[in-house]
């Protein structure tokens, strides 16, 4: 069982409540999309799950047990938004990926594992010796994925992983997400402010606003028959949906 559950989760920073009583389930082997505008609390929710933000109420469980936030292994991993800040500029790609692996194994085994992971994210294994400055944004995001997978997670949280990328590489990263879900049966919480992107990768969608989830359900239903006004507003704002304005 690797179902990720948020139960009435609340996170406060000082007086401000960033996440306010959120309950959300990411079923095993599914991709759940979490949409909302910046500042709505999406990233805070994710960071709380991996222990990077303090929980001031509620429970986060993975397969029924609390998510371990000390020691190893760490069955919940996260991929971040900014590809330029997510890799240590002084470590080679191989070192970064190795660091995230559970301890144990010979050096040769580790090297083989790095190669396997890089191939999994469609990078040339020869990349392992490179420092991040030689990689493009899209390639870095794939290394970040490989590093997350190195920890053998049961669930991966992807936080706005394409919003800092140029459109020409965004597609490749989205394809990768779908492929990992399909081929490895990975459970993914996919956070984005772009509904079209979420629609493409997620089977379930949750809409967040001001720290609360206002609507959630199967992607198809939420995106075609939204029940909440805010979801409708978001949908209406997706560019390219309406007819060109000049002809209106």
């Amino acid at each position: 069982m690797s179902e990720l559950r948020f139960d009435d989760v609340t996170v406060r920073y000082g007086k401000a409540t960033a996440v306010d009583g959120v309950s959300l389930t990411v079923p095993e082997g599914e991709v759940v999309g979490l949409v909302g505008e910046s500042g709505s609390g999406k990233s805070t929710l994710a960071r709380a799950a991996v222990g990077l933000a303090p929980l001031s109420g509620g429970r986060i469980t993975l397969g029924g047990a609390p998510v371990p936030t000390r020691g190893r292994p760490r069955p919940l991993q996260m991929v971040f938004q900014d590809p330029y800040s997510s890799l240590d500029p002084r470590m080679t790609v191989g070192e970064s990926v190795t660091e995230a692996m559970p301890p144990g194994g010979t050096r040769a085994e580790r090297r083989a594992e790095v190669e396997r992971l890089l191939e999994l994210v469609h990078l040339d294994p020869a990349c392992a010796g490179n420092v991040p400055s030689r990689l493009s944004g899209g390639q870095r995001q794939r290394v970040a994925f490989a590093r997350a997978l190195a920890a053998r997670p049961r669930v991966v949280i992807a936080d706005e992983i394409t919003s800092a990328l140029d459109v020409s590489v965004q597609g490749a990263v989205l394809n990768l997400v779908r492929e990992l879900q399909r081929d490895l049966g990975l459970t993914i919480l996919f956070i984005s402010h772009n509904l079209a992107v979420v629609r493409y990768v997620a089977s379930h969608v949750a809409v967040m606003r001001d720290g609360r989830i206002v609507e959630q359900g199967p992607a198809e239903r939420v995106l075609t028959e939204p029940a909440h006004d805010y979801t409708r507003e978001l949908l209406a704002a997706v560019p390219g949906r309406s007819t060109p304005r000049s002809q209106r």
Binding site: E37, S38, G39, S40, D82, Y84, E160, S163, A164, D166, H193, R209, D210
Partner: protein, 333 residues
């Protein structure tokens, strides 16, 4: 192309005007001032207790009779419990009683009162001089060396300012005494009797900080001239004068003061060295004498006065910043 996803939803965010930013700024700033003052007072009190061994024995020398040492200890109140001494010290400060000088047996407050004006006038003149020279110089240099311009000028200015800023004030003082005092005989080299006696000390004190500040102002000016809002001002087709003086200048100066404000506080304490070079009858020459003669009450008081001077200078800079830049009022540090 890291896109920033910074905008707020239309309802949330800073749409509500900040409530009374001045009051909150004043409160916060006052709080910091009080904490700093307390640290300063406590440090000056603790100074004498941190001295390894017995400070009185140290001051009187190994041959002094035990009775004298005991009597002096008693006179200084050093045989009371520490807490009592601390309360005494605080009470003394509130009533203006800073104790008695060991060497002259005069009240320390008299010593300070007598010496303070000379130091204060030196520090204030140097402060004004540094600010009034550094800011216009930095701004002009910034405009001349803005991106893609004046590479030679920039190199010359930067090199000169590093040089000038590196030379410590007391060495400048020594050199000035040699050239203008001894060789040329244009200025007096000691004392504060005449107006011309101020020239060399103020110059030695102000030139280093002025050079650094001018450098910071230049860098900020160059940066500000590249800023988006300057491009906006140009897009409004405002005359160059308005773009530089109306839009770029206030931002460059505030940024420079944010970075370089502490320098001006440091300059106040720099009077210690300069006073010793020019035999200036101020607190700086007194404190050194008192350290050497182990006249601790005087040392404590002067450290306190200098500390307050530094804190006041920093306060002046922060208030100036708050006036010039509305954001600095809400910036937590």
């Amino acid at each position: 192309m890291a896109m920033s996803l910074t905008a707020e939803s239309p309802t949330a965010g800073p749409a509500v005007p900040g409530e009374r930013p001045w009051a909150r700024f004043a409160l916060r700033r006052l709080g910091r001032l009080l904490v700093s003052l307390w640290v300063l007072v406590t440090a000056s009190f603790a100074m004498i207790h941190l001295i390894p061994g017995d400070p009185v024995r140290g001051a009187l020398g190994p041959t002094a009779p035990v009775e004298l040492v005991e009597a002096r200890r008693h006179a200084l109140g050093l045989d009371d419990p520490l807490a009592t001494q601390y309360l005494h010290y605080l009470k003394g400060l509130f009533t203006g009683d800073l104790g008695t000088s060991i060497s002259s047996q005069l009240p320390v407050s008299d010593v300070v009162a007598q010496r303070l004006p000379a130091t204060l006038s030196l520090a204030v003149l140097a402060f004004l001089g540094a600010v009034l020279v550094a800011i216009p110089l930095g701004v002009v240099m910034g405009v001349l060396t803005r991106r893609g311009h004046g590479r030679r000028t920039e190199l010359a200015f930067t090199t000169t300012s590093v040089f000038v800023a590196t030379v410590p004030d007391f060495l400048i003082g020594v050199a000035l005494i040699y050239v203008f005092g001894i060789r040329l005989g244009w200025f007096p080299v000691a004392g504060d009797e005449t107006a011309s006696a101020y020239v060399l000390p103020v110059f030695s004190l102000a030139i280093g900080p002025a050079a650094i500040l001018a450098r910071i102002v230049r860098v900020e000016m160059v940066g500000v001239l590249e800023a988006d809002f300057v491009r906006t001002a140009r897009a409004k087709r405002l005359p160059a004068r308005t773009v530089y003086l109306g839009h770029a200048l206030p931002n460059a100066v505030t940024a420079a003061l944010t970075l370089g404000g502490l320098l001006l506080g440091a300059m106040v304490a720099g009077t210690v060295l300069v006073e010793n070079v020019f035999a200036w009858p101020g607190l700086g020459s007194t404190i050194v004498q008192s350290i050497l003669t182990k006249d601790y009450p005087v040392v404590q008081a002067i450290v306190l006065v200098y500390g307050v001077g530094v804190l006041v200078t920093n306060l002046v800079v922060d208030v100036a910043l708050a006036v010039l830049d509305p954001r600095s009022k809400i910036r937590e540090d």
